[in-house]
């Protein structure tokens, strides 16, 4: 049994983007915060694990099933925007350029990391195409996201009238997460047939 501090550092270091050094800094920071604040953090972590899950239709993160996007009758049900991760939805919502439904793949094709089509939520997407006229492929403009978009375009073209891709206007290498709202809105508005 390791000591409490090493245990915390170990747990933090398992988070994405956090190395041992940052984990150590965060752990020492948490040692200094008031106990109430530490309990809030712990409770918040437990609460998301207990109350939130993936929507059974689109895989968005939600506390109710179906999620608020899938349940909203006011949204345009003839369009589906495909993203890699649940956190890619919010930036697209903020642009106000898209009023259809979403589908989260829960990843992207990643040849060098061994992630192929079978690891993605593609069958669920194919099962949702009734009445859909446009699928917008909003995967990241990097190798993984481009490969995913090109692969999906092949599967979708025979089944959907319009398969479109965001017009990033930049070479392969970017991230939707780090694209500002104005650029993202322009990419959505200027989306092109793939």
């Amino acid at each position: 049994m390791s000591d409490p501090l090493s245990r915390l550092v170990g747990e933090l270091a398992r988070l994405p983007g956090i190395g041992p050094k940052t984990a150590g800094r965060l752990a020492h920071h948490l040692l200094r915060v008031p106990e109430a604040q530490a309990r809030e953090l712990a409770a918040a972590i437990v609460e998301v694990k207990e109350k939130l899950f993936h929507c059974s239709r689109c895989n968005a993160i939600t506390a109710v099933d179906p999620c608020r996007f899938c349940a909203d009758e006011g949204r345009d049900r003839t369009r589906i925007c495909v993203v890699e991760e649940p956190f890619n939805i919010q930036p697209i919502e903020r642009t106000g350029e898209f009023r259809g439904l979403y589908h989260v793949l829960l990843g992207a094709l990643s040849p060098q990391r061994g992630i192929g089509p079978d690891e993605l939520a593609i069958p669920q997407l194919l099962a949702r195409l009734d009445g859909v006229e446009e699928v917008v492929l909003a995967t990241n403009p990097n190798v993984e996201g481009e490969a995913t978009a090109l692969y999906l375009a092949r599967l979708l073209r025979p089944r959907v009238a319009h398969v479109t891709r965001l017009a990033f206007g930049m070479p392969v290498g970017g991230d939707i997460e780090f694209t500002d709202e104005v650029t993202l809105a322009r990419s959505l508005a200027g989306r092109r047939e793939l």
Binding site: G17, I18, G19, T22, L109, S110, P111, Q112, R113, G114, I115, G116, P117, D118, N142, V143, E146, A147, L150, Y151, R154, L155, M170, P171, V172, G173, G174, D175, F178, T179, D180, T183
Partner: protein, 249 residues
């Protein structure tokens, strides 16, 4: 700490934290290396567009004693690779070439020949050589450079010419005639032998004129795959993903 500068081919780019990327690259003098490009995840980073799979760059980096990762300090694009990254086959091929190089090049050892092989393969792909032909040529030479894939010569056991077909034995180390090969090893059909013989003497851009059939390329792929698996004791991830992806599409 030591500043270094070289022409490099980008082999992989991965996010690191909120702002940075880890870049794997191949150079002649310093071989295969990995480094951190600070701020490269930001959209307007001067690194962002330059760090593209298989692009050729003028790279500067800082070697740090006892650290696994170098620090990339400057990247200037010399030859973009987007010319063939626009298709699914192109992207999958690029990933496979890059992972192959990483699997066969131990980090930090000079790789003059391997660099030249990857560089000319990318050049040929950009000039329009078919991905199938280019990839087979690359595979054959990659294994050859690793010392496990002989080019055809008279059978080393009995001296017979191999033109009528051969067997690859000893985990891919020798090519012997069918009579000497016995039941073990891989069968090498005549058209695959012809490909191997041509690859031994011709540069990649001149291979296209030899008119290899799809069946010949498939035979070479089967052989190279068997030898590579035996050599690495596992299959490359990108090869598996490429097979699964193209089969479904």
């Amino acid at each position: 700490m030591r500043f270094r500068r070289a022409e490099a081919l980008i082999l992989d780019v991965q996010p690191l934290g909120d702002a940075d990327r880890i870049v794997a690259f191949l150079t002649r003098e310093a071989g295969s290396l990995r480094g951190v490009a600070r701020g490269a995840r930001r959209r307007y980073s001067r690194h962002a567009g330059q760090l593209q799979l298989l692009s050729k760059v003028d790279l500067q980096w800082l070697e740090r004693e006892g650290r696994e990762l170098a620090r990339v300090t400057s990247v200037e694009l010399l030859r973009p690779a987007d010319g063939f990254l626009g298709t699914l086959e192109g992207l999958l091929t690029a990933s496979y070439l890059a992972e192959s190089v990483r699997a066969f090049a131990p980090e930090g050892e000079p790789q003059e020949l391997l660099y030249r092989l990857l560089d000319t393969t990318v050049e040929a792909l950009l000039a329009g050589t078919g991905p199938g032909l280019a990839t087979r040529y690359f595979e054959v030479w990659l294994l050859r450079l690793a010392g496990v894939f002989p080019f055809p010569s008279p059978c080393p056991v009995c001296g017979a010419e191999l033109a009528g077909g051969a067997r690859l034995v000893g985990g891919g180390e020798s090519l012997v005639c069918a009579a000497c090969g016995g039941p073990g090893g891989e069968t090498v059909p005549p058209e695959a032998l012809r490909f191997l013989a041509a690859a031994a003497r011709l540069p990649l851009p001149r291979m296209a004129a030899e008119g290899f059939t799809a069946a010949a390329l498939a035979a070479v792929e089967r052989l190279a795959t068997a030898v590579r698996r035996h050599f690495l004791q596992q299959e490359l991830r990108s090869y598996q993903v490429m097979a699964r992806t193209l089969q479904g599409a």
